[in-house]
Symmetry: C2
Subunit: 552 residues, 2 copies
């Protein structure tokens, strides 16, 4: 080493979930976790109480034999106990594995076995769902049931794992668990991708990535949650750490509103009105359901300063109607399980007047790349493309909260020299706003050009008669592929394929308008509520769809 | 390792100044650095231009022989070129050493030699100040002069170091310098403490600490700068990285307003009015000067959404008057060179009505501990004290942007088992609001109790006849120490010691009211504008002060 070399004098202080917990419990010990109970009084716990329960839970898990680096699963709605596990498990050095309650049984069993989950914490209302795989998850050494409901179905497990009660376990312990010092790069939590293509893959978040992501959640350039916020986390805690809101809340002091199993628009909107939520975060499907519910019911959403939407592109009309009817600005975010998930949010640049067409133009972008994340687009040969808002390529990202591999699955085709290949196709403009036009697998390749299925879907869903629309590419002898529009009409509404094709013709290039149409009762959805195009493609291949043809 | 142990899949992505630069240059390439020129048109450069110049500067420094880990000093006002050095030097792996232009010559020479500065980048207007030590800084191998002013005084350096022009050097280079990959824990920049007690000590910030601190600057719970902001950085770039504003601006897109040498209230307020600054950051002395200037001049501060104040406690009356006269909320921050500096900010909790007495009560707290920083108070024996707002002890902090040592000076008495001893005495309440009552060395120990000199000073400065007041402890045979109040009256105002003592008697415990008083023309100040009590103590010891006695 050069003798004149200067070295840093900074403390070697690790970025850990325990540091988040300490801050929330001490500085914001009076902020609350409020769990909706469906009727009557919501359950309330202060952050100080949540922290004390997390200490008790960690003591109980340690007594059950959970050691550092071992996975403890949750199979739970958004509620106080789930929040306690969010802190107890990583802070004790174990790994929180949030199980998606909407998985098919075979996927669920696969994921539990692939992770090697040692304990499962399960809501009593979800016992029947978990019980479907009870014979196939031999790694589980104990079940911990939240609530007093029947859990006898779990007792049939073949290895004789005990079925314990969360409340009893905590009552037997004292607060004051001594959190170990953990390396910031050690595993804190894990989540499997929803696996719409191929097997689900495990993404393992580190303490460091969790801390940094929580700091990003506090950024004024993004959602910017503060102690003044009451955040309704509709986005499930079983998916990508509920977009970082629980950890962000403990760093910022924002009160958390947890809907539990009450995900119906009626409950969600009653929760907002009763507890004066200031922010709500959900996938477009939920926002859409709230909009629909509001057509027949008076809603008081006046306490909401903003909503955030992610997981799929929100149709322009959704953003527009919330602003018109409720004065509520919904801001889209972009991310993936692999990106923790915050990769970008679609806030308009300064100076744009809210509520104008220009404002909506910006807000229907997929996002603007977030500080802390780096983004690029590359063409099919891997060459980097310019940020000109025109060039279309695959979006790649890197950064301290982006995954660089998968759990026990290196998946080299998902990475490109230190960058994650997102599988999203789109453009980036000179200010870092990106517009995703399609998933790589959903792009319709027609006559050497690409047709964006998402763009067609958004236009169709803006038609007053259309409730849902999904567009897939189907084989075509002349053009390679052509679009097939799958449409769900609103109850009582009527529109023909020809009418809808005419509606599109004014909005996209003529050659992009689908000539193939089919009407159905519902678009199939994935376990996280996104349109699932696999059954549509299979349906077409097996000639199970009734196709109408419209002349181009 | 336990075979079932789960390991993180996150990318190993370093937190570096280069990552901050990339984000600012690319996503916010159109944001600006605006340098005030005193008259006529300010100089403007976009972040993209600043980044390109930083690349040229790095190439020039490399050509001069600067290698990784070596210190490059700046001796400069806040301006565009200083900002370019803020990025060029750390991004090339060298260490930016910002020299305090207000140091006494012997301190300046000591610091340059102690760091071993290899190059000094100096504003032409500051050449005479630097020239005072030209014979005593043999480590310097080149001087780079910003501006076209006379620099011949530097040519007299005994080692024959060349005196180069910044503009010529950059013109000879191309942009596109390939930033090396640096370890995030390597040194990025350094700053010496102002050394009011003992020799100045060097604090060396790492890339990691700089990145994390910049993220904190973006937090909505704190200043929360965004692209919509135009930030007037009055706080000098030569001191603690201008409170992180330059790096925060590149992460958030906030435009930077740089006053250059025009630190007079007239210029600062014209800058705000002309460029519509949204935020301004300065020490209380500057805020006070602006207030004074405003008494005779019409000021347009309407564009400012907030001001921040730090470096010393702002008197309550200062905060009050800015709010009354200009509707401007000044928020106090607390920090030190050792803390990067952000350790806390005194935002009131949610629900407090702005402009009320309660609001001011909160805003005159020293701060509320910032997410990312951990704080505790300890008594003289080192035992931790409760967060009850009552117990008084020394404040200790730790965290990823807190120093753990000093450059080539371990100073073990400044640390306490991983915590930095701040030397500040105060209380913390149950919500993490802390109130510093004194520096450890300024506390007046009277009859076994502590008297807060700061509290007395704040009360005195709220008296309409008082411009400045400093209180020191003087030896007392019976009480150990007793307070001596040193008062500067406003021009034309009159008040006797007895009157002022009576004024205090209604505000503090009777035994805390000083019986010793002296009136002077000015309180001595340190190089960073804080009250300097050393000359007052010396003056008292040498019987140079005219003391009046008031009966208790």
């Amino acid at each position: 080493m050069n003798p004149s070399m200067i070295t840093s004098t900074m403390q070697d202080f690790p970025l850990t979930v325990a540091a988040i917990l300490r801050h929330g419990a001490r500085v914001f010990g009076g902020s609350e976790c409020v769990t909706w109970t469906g009727g009557g009084t919501p359950r309330r716990a202060t952050f100080a109480e949540v922290a004390a329960n997390a200490e008790r839970l960690a003591a109980a898990l340690a007594r059950l034999g959970v050691r550092e680096g071992e996975p403890v699963a949750t199979f739970a709605w958004n509620n106080q106990e789930h929040l306690e596990a969010y802190f107890a498990v990583p802070c004790m050095g174990a790994v929180l594995h949030t199980l998606n309650i909407r998985l098919f049984p075979e996927q669920l069993a696969h994921i539990i076995n692939h992770a090697g989950d040692k304990v499962v914490i399960v809501d009593d209302t979800l016992v029947p769902l978990l019980a479907r795989v009870i014979g196939e998850i031999p790694t589980v050494e104990a079940f911990i049931v939240v609530g007093d409901g029947d859990a006898s179905a779990l007792e049939a497990n073949p290895t004789g794992a005990p079925v314990l009660r969360y409340r009893d376990l905590l009552a037997a312990e004292e607060p004051g668990y001594a959190w170990p010092e953990v390396d910031e790069r050690s595993a804190a939590s894990m989540c499997y991708t929803s696996g719409t293509t191929g097997d689900p893959k495990g993404v393992v978040y580190s303490h460091r990535s969790t801390f940094l992501h929580a700091m990003a959640v506090m950024s004024a350039s993004l959602v910017g949650i503060t102690e003044a916020d009451r955040v309704l986390a509709i986005v499930p805690m079983f998916h990508v750490n509920a977009w970082g809101l629980p950890y962000g809340a403990f760093l910022s002091g924002a009160t958390l509103h947890m809907p539990g199993p009450f995900m119906q628009p009626e409950h969600l909107t009653r929760f907002v009105a009763a507890e004066r939520s200031t922010l709500a975060s959900a996938v477009p499907t939920i926002w859409n359901a709230i909009l629909g519910y509001g057509e027949d019911h008076e809603l008081d959403l006046s306490s909401l300063r903003a909503g955030t939407s992610g997981g799929a592109a929100a149709p322009r009309v959704l953003l527009e109607r919330f602003e018109e009817r409720y004065g509520l600005r919904i801001i889209q975010g972009w991310g993936m399980t692999e990106t923790s998930p915050l990769g970008g949010m679609a806030f308009p640049p300064p100076g744009v007047e809210p509520g104008t067409a220009e404002d909506l133009d910006w807000r229907t972008k997929s996002g603007r790349v977030t500080a802390g994340v780096e983004m690029r687009i590359v063409d099919a040969s891997g060459a980097e493309l310019p940020w000109d808002g025109e060039a279309v390529g695959e979006i790649e990202v890197r950064g301290p909260w982006i995954t660089g591999s998968y759990h026990r699955d290196p998946a080299p085709d998902k990475f490109d020299g230190g960058w994650l290949r997102t599988g999203d196709i789109g453009t980036i403009d000179g200010r870092g706003y990106f517009q995703i036009t399609d998933r790589a697998k959903d792009v319709i390749k027609s006559g050497g050009e690409w047709i964006s299925s998402v763009e067609l879907e958004n236009h169709l869903m803006a038609h007053p008669a259309v409730a849902e629309a999904a567009v897939i590419g189907i084989p075509d002898p002349r053009w390679d592929e052509r679009p097939l529009a799958c449409v769900v009409l609103r109850p009582g509404a009527a529109a023909t394929a020809a009418e809808l094709a005419g509606f599109l013709a004014g909005k996209v290039a003529r050659w992009q308008v689908p000539e193939y149409w089919t009407f159905m009762d519902e678009i199939p959805k994935t376990t996280v509520g996104k349109f699932d195009k696999k059954p549509l493609r299979t349906g077409h291949r097996n000639a199970e769809l009734k196709i109408e043809h419209v002349d181009r």
